[in-house]
């Protein structure tokens, strides 16, 4: 079996659209399965898709979203895992495109384009990320790829321990970072998923987001091989500047919390990043990257495109 789709649900009515968009994929039936993790604490209302022998429903009891997703991954049979939300849906040929990509690429995280829509399903912007190969630096800086448009190899997912359920909110970008710390990524330039934007009714805890996000990044910076991996994915003056900035901002954060030895370690690594940057430090981009906060290139490009159409 090539793919297992895992859909955690809190019982929203759009679930039917999500499941049906998977069942409609143009792939042989034996090649994929759907696991719906019902985290609502009550039984799901009856629906036609529940009769499909490709769908399995498991119940969890109002846990974090990550716990539900990890459970789905634990019982999955597919070579790749695909995490969909109950209010998002797939393009009919999505899995075909990802399957083709998997045949030509050894990357463990495969993805395509995402169409963001508002709560009335009106298209907002399209995300084309352009990340290929070792992109650890880019995702450390803040580039992010929606899970809905991604296939993640199951063995890799299990090896790194799955989602960190202690992070409510940034667990998806945290997973992406931990995968890219050891593995590569590959992109297909086809539309994969439609994803609803907006906080209303979402299970993401936005109030804890910045704090959790920082803690997640600190944990990754504590892992081994981070410096080397960032260096080998920071190939332009801009990204070399971002690398130094990652260590500098972490040093400040640790100083504020009186983690003096960690701060000292981060400062020495930021100096090492600047020394390793070589000629890059003569470029304007390097200093621009070091001095300013990051805004996602994929988002900006998408917004620019949407405005030019209007």
């Amino acid at each position: 079996m090539i793919c297992t789709t895992i859909i955690p649900t809190v019982g929203r009515p759009m679930l039917t659209r999500a499941v049906e968009s998977v069942l409609a994929q143009r792939l042989p039936a034996s090649e994929f399965e759907v696991i719906v993790v019902n985290d609502s604490g009550v039984p799901l209302p009856e629906a036609d898709w529940q009769k499909s022998d490709r769908v399995q429903i498991v119940a969890t009891n109002r846990r974090e979203r990550s716990v539900a997703r990890n459970l789905g991954a634990s019982i999955a049979n597919g070579r790749y895992l695909h995490f969909l939300d109950d209010d998002d849906w797939l393009e009919p040929y999505a899995y075909r495109h990802l399957l083709q990509l998997s045949q030509s690429s050894e990357a463990k995280w495969l993805y395509g384009m995402t169409q963001l829509v508002d709560r009335k399903n009106k298209p907002l912007i399209q995300l084309r990320h352009g990340l290929q190969g070792n992109c650890f630096m880019q995702v450390m800086a803040g580039e992010w790829i929606p899970l809905q448009s991604s296939w993640i190899e199951r063995n890799t997912f299990m090896k790194i321990g799955g989602f960190n359920a202690l992070l409510a909110g940034p667990e998806d970008i945290d997973l992406l970072r931990r995968v890219l710390l050891v593995e590569k990524i590959a992109e297909t330039r086809n539309l994969i998923a439609h994803v609803i934007m907006g906080g209303n009714g979402s299970t993401t805890d936005y109030s804890r987001h910045p704090q959790a996000s920082r803690q997640a990044r600190e944990q990754i910076l504590d892992s081994s091989n981070v410096f080397h991996r960032m260096r080998s994915s920071a190939l332009t003056p801009f990204w070399r500047g971002r690398m130094a900035r990652v260590y500098l901002t972490s040093a400040i954060w640790n100083l504020q919390r009186r983690h003096l030895f960690t701060a000292a370690s981060r400062i020495s690594l930021s100096i090492a990043s600047i020394l390793h940057a070589g000629n890059s430090i003569l470029a304007k981009d390097f200093w621009r990257a070091i001095s300013g906060p990051y805004s996602s290139i994929a988002f900006e490009a998408g917004i620019g495109e949407a405005q030019s159409i209007k």
Partner: protein
């Protein structure tokens, strides 16, 4: 619902007896549930217990034990989680004894006395651990509280994200690691009643005894680097009712061991941080520095009661496979 018993199984026939021992506890069917996580990759043979209402079977597909247990926990409803193995069983009255203490003490981890039996069912040793309150230093020292004999609150379990399913810890050490993580945040309680029998030995077990020592090292480092670990460890050593000098020495011992390890791995800043904590542990010890127990803790490795009891009972041969594997690993590293 009060209790969720989670039984991962690789399809051993003793599963039915394990389940029966839980059903026989005499609790009402709305007070407990059993989640059997079938990790054998095959369907289970039909059995009578499958007709019971509050037993659920979930299939995982040949993952490690931690994954299977986490799956059971995620699907559970109980206030307390109880992890049983498919070749162990609970003794009559166990749930009542554990539940009473757990409810009264409000502890996150409540444990009871246990009996270890060999493959023929004969008792080899019987132990009654007495860890109560903040026991983080004892957990760090590899004192072992069997999951079979423990009730863990669901709240505490999820506060540490369940069993770590990392390969570096996934071979039998996950229970000790869990107790270390939980003891950093929560307190423990115990009952002297014998609650379970556990099969002893390394024949036919899914535990990977060969990598146990590496796992212990990884787990210890992960525990020490946690926020507030030092404060919690010192408080736990000082609160030990009869051996506080010894345990205060042990705090110093583990920071020293970590310092050595971090230096070997060239993590200089982390090593420096451990050095500072060693200094702090020495200063905080105060007049304890004059006691010989303190220095015994600092110098000698800790022998957990489990190992001592097995030795005293002359049951070393039950771990012959492990012994052989360790000897082999040692002779290889010497060459």
């Amino acid at each position: 619902m009060a209790i969720s018993t989670i039984i991962p199984t690789i399809g051993r026939p003793s599963l039915s007896a394990a389940i029966q021992s839980v059903v026989d506890q005499g609790l009402g069917s709305d007070e407990f549930e059993i989640l059997v996580v079938n990790d054998s990759g095959k369907s289970l043979p039909p059995a009578d217990w499958q007709k019971l209402g509050n037993i659920k079977v979930i299939h995982t597909n040949r993952r490690n034990r931690s994954v299977a247990r986490n799956v059971g926990a995620a699907a559970s409803h109980g206030k307390y989680l109880h992890f049983l193995d498919d070749d162990d069983s609970m003794l009559p009255g166990a749930f009542e004894a554990l539940l009473t203490v757990a409810e009264k003490s409000k502890a996150a981890w409540t444990h009871g006395a246990f009996r270890m039996v060999d493959n023929s069912g004969a008792t080899v040793i019987e132990l009654s651990p007495d860890e109560t309150g903040n026991c983080s230093i004892q957990m760090l020292a590899w004192e072992w509280l069997p999951l079979q004999a423990s009730f863990i609150t669901s709240e505490a379990f999820f506060a540490v994200d369940g069993f770590a399913s990392l390969p570096s810890l996934g071979g039998g050490f996950e229970d000790v690691h869990l107790s270390r993580q939980i003891s950093l945040l929560y307190d423990m309680a115990h009952t002297e009643q014998t609650v379970t029998t556990i099969r002893i030995g390394d024949v036919g077990s899914t535990t990977n005894y060969i990598t146990m020592f590496d796992q212990n090292r990884h787990s210890r480092e992960k525990t020490i680097e946690a926020h507030q670990a030092f404060r919690r460890l010192v408080a736990s050593a000082k609160s030990s009712p009869s051996h506080s000098n010894y345990w205060c020495g042990k705090v110093l011992y583990y920071y020293m061991a970590s310092l050595k390890w971090q230096l070997q791995n060239k993590h200089l800043f982390t090593a420096a941080s451990r050095g500072t904590h060693m200094l702090a542990a020495t200063l905080l010890a105060g007049s304890r520095l004059l006691s010989s127990d303190f220095w015994r803790g600092v110098i000698h490795p800790h022998y957990p009661r489990m190992g001592r009891a097995i030795q005293e009972a002359g049951a070393d041969h039950l771990y012959a496979n492990t012994r052989r594997a360790i000897d082999m690993a040692n002779s290889k590293s010497k060459q």
